[in-house]
């Protein structure tokens, strides 16, 4: 026996349908080297189970309530090999863009399943791309974010984009301000800016993106800069280029 076969694998099965989870469990049964450490019926459970069990392999459904398989992948980041399992073939491209090991279509056949498993085994130990890259490529091209998923420990928060007030850069993180609360997320402000609809969100400063709807007024502040006053009273610095961007956008809206 080679060393890779002796190693015990920790697998996670994520699907909102009990019967669909059962099939994967059954197909895994002959593989004694793989241990199913948890089964999750939704994305929240999956994120939590990932933190708890540190699985090597995840069977991940795409269409699930609240958090999709792609959201889960974005939140758990590197570490595990992911095999997507879904009835929809239109996500295949996107799945490989986020470096999924394989993409299984329901109903799942034994032969196809074994192939995916082989592929996953051969990939074991390879370093998967960072969460940042995953987050960027998980977004379908030419489409702006509809919500932001943020993980705080094992707690997951969904922020609908309309409820996002502003974004502040903090080193490698961004602080997302929404309804009086701030949520930290590991992402650069530039990459987040690229995912936001430029008609609603403006980069008013090197470190700030603001939701245009929240801006109540702009006040002069110091020599060259200004302050944006938001509807909840927050005051954000506006740089000269930021002010120019704001103005051109407001002109367009007229």
């Amino acid at each position: 026996m080679t060393s890779s076969q002796q190693k015990r694998w920790r697998a996670l099965i994520v699907d909102d349908e009990e019967l669909a989870r059962h099939i994967i469990r059954e197909l895994l049964q002959p593989h004694t080297e793989i241990e199913v450490v948890a089964e999750c019926a939704n994305g929240f459970e999956a994120v939590k189970a990932c933190a708890e069990h540190r699985p090597d392999l995840i069977f991940l459904d795409v269409q699930m309530p609240k958090l999709t398989g792609f959201d889960v992948l974005e939140l758990i980041g590197e570490g595990a090999s992911v095999i997507f399992v879904t009835a929809y073939d239109q996500y295949a491209m996107r799945a490989f863009e986020v470096h999924a090991v394989d993409y299984l279509l329901k109903p799942i056949g034994k032969k196809r399943f074994e192939e995916a498993l082989e592929r996953a085994k051969s990939r074991l130990g390879e370093k998967t791309p960072s969460a940042q890259k995953l987050a960027d490529s998980a977004r379908p091209p030419q489409q702006f974010l509809e919500r932001v998923v943020v993980k705080d420990g094992t707690r997951v928060t969904l922020i609908p984009i309309a409820k996002l007030d502003y974004v502040e850069a903090q080193d490698d993180y961004v602080a997302l301000a929404s309804q009086g609360k701030k949520h930290l997320k590991q992402q650069t402000i530039a990459s987040l800016e690229a995912c936001l609809d430029p008609n609603c969100f403006v980069r008013i400063h090197r470190s700030y993106i603001v939701n245009l709807e929240r801006v109540v007024r702009i006040e002069p502040y110091g020599k060259d800069s200004r302050l944006a006053i938001l509807s909840d009273g927050a005051r954000l610095p506006v740089s000269r280029t930021g002010y120019a961007r704001l103005q051109s956008l407001l002109d367009e809206h007229k």
Binding site: L19, A20, E26, A41, K66, A87, I108
Partner: protein, 354 residues
């Protein structure tokens, strides 16, 4: 092809010239210069010829359409044509009279005719314009008939499109997911796997069968919905709860087939499937005062990003209602409270019995 140059139409056209010729004979003789006989001998052959000359008005009328030409140009074109053609006709009259006046019985006819010549010219002018006007009437009648035919054609096309839309309504993902469930059941519970195969087979057969009909009884559609939900119930387990409030009188109502199926499918796909704990799908149906009111409600997650395909399903239903009932049907969506609610009201067709 000229619309009047067919055999039966030409006959009527020439008949319509007889009263015109009689009037013209009377007018020409009224001055006292010509006798009744002389007037008739001149006018009858001239009118016979002119009837055919006036047919040419159709071509000018066709080339100068009322809508496209400016009013001035329109008047100038037709009055010039009338002037020229009437002048030609009057000259023809002169030639006839000159030839006649050579014979002994009509001596001096040319001198007596010369006083009536302007009347002939004026009559020719008016007759030509009259024929132009009637040509326009014919043209517009033709146009309206064509438009009618086009409307019919569009209706047929719309109907075909509707049928096509019906056929694609079996959602392939529903099939894939169901097959996956069956696949799981084969080892867990073979007899339930068989039940589900039968349900799926029944559902598909009913969908295809109902799709071919114009109208179906509500009871038939209901049976299809129940099969569909029974299948989804196996997939979703306890997450899917179904509630029906069906008034017995409504079961005999007639409605377009597969009208409610996409609504129920949406309720499961966009409602229940989006909730980790699941929820309820409610269907209620009422027949009252000649209306059939149907409500489909489902629990849903208001924070979920809007889905495009759900909107399409609703739009499809709305279009089908409009195509069949026009303004008599209405479809409303209400998202207040914890339920996503689609309310549908159509005229109650079909006998009233339970």
């Amino acid at each position: 092809m000229h619309p009047l140059l067919t055999r039966n139409r030409l006959g009527y056209y020439l008949l319509s010239w007889i009263p015109l010729a009689v009037i013209l004979i009377f007018v020409m003789a009224a001055g006292g210069n010509l006798s009744w006989l002389e007037s008739s001998i001149i006018v009858i052959p001239l009118c016979g010829v002119y009837a055919f000359i006036c047919l040419s008005a159709w071509y000018t009328a066709k080339s100068a359409s009322i809508q496209r030409e400016s009013a001035l140009r329109f008047i100038v074109v037709h009055s010039m044509a009338a002037f020229l053609i009437s002048a030609l006709w009057t000259a023809l009259g002169w030639a006839l009279v000159t030839a006649l006046s050579r014979t002994p019985s009509f001596q001096g006819l040319n001198q007596r005719f010369s006083r009536q010549a302007p009347i002939l010219f004026a009559a020719g002018y008016l007759l030509y314009l009259l024929s132009v006007a009637s040509q326009y009437v014919i043209l517009s009648l033709e146009a309206s008939r064509e438009a009618e035919a086009r409307v019919m054609e569009t209706n047929i096309l719309a109907r075909e499109a509707e049928l096509k839309a019906l056929k694609v309504q079996i959602n392939p993902h529903f099939l894939f997911n169901s097959l996956n469930s069956i696949s799981a059941l084969t080892s867990i519970d073979p007899s339930r796997a068989r039940d589900m195969c039968v349900l799926l087979g029944d559902f598909l057969r009913m969908t295809l069968g109902l799709g071919e009909k114009d109208l179906v009884r509500f009871s038939e559609e209901l049976e299809l919905l129940q099969k569909y939900l029974a299948i989804e119930k196996i997939r979703f387990g306890e997450r899917l709860i179904m509630r029906e409030t069906i008034q017995a009188e409504s079961k005999s109502c007639l409605l377009p087939p597969l009208l409610l199926q996409p609504l129920i499918e949406n309720a499961v796909k966009h409602g229940i499937a989006g909730l980790p704990e699941g929820g309820e799908v409610r269907l209620s149906c009422h027949r009252q005062d000649g209306r059939l009111d149907i409500v489909v409600e489902n629990s849903w997650d208001p924070d979920a990003p809007p889905r495009r395909s759900g909107g399409l399903g609703l739009k499809n239903v709305q279009q089908r209602l409009e195509a069949r009932y026009g303004k008599d049907a209405n479809l409303r969506v209400n998202t207040e409270g914890p339920f996503f609610r689609v309310m549908l009201s159509i005229p109650a067709e079909g006998e009233e019995r339970s």
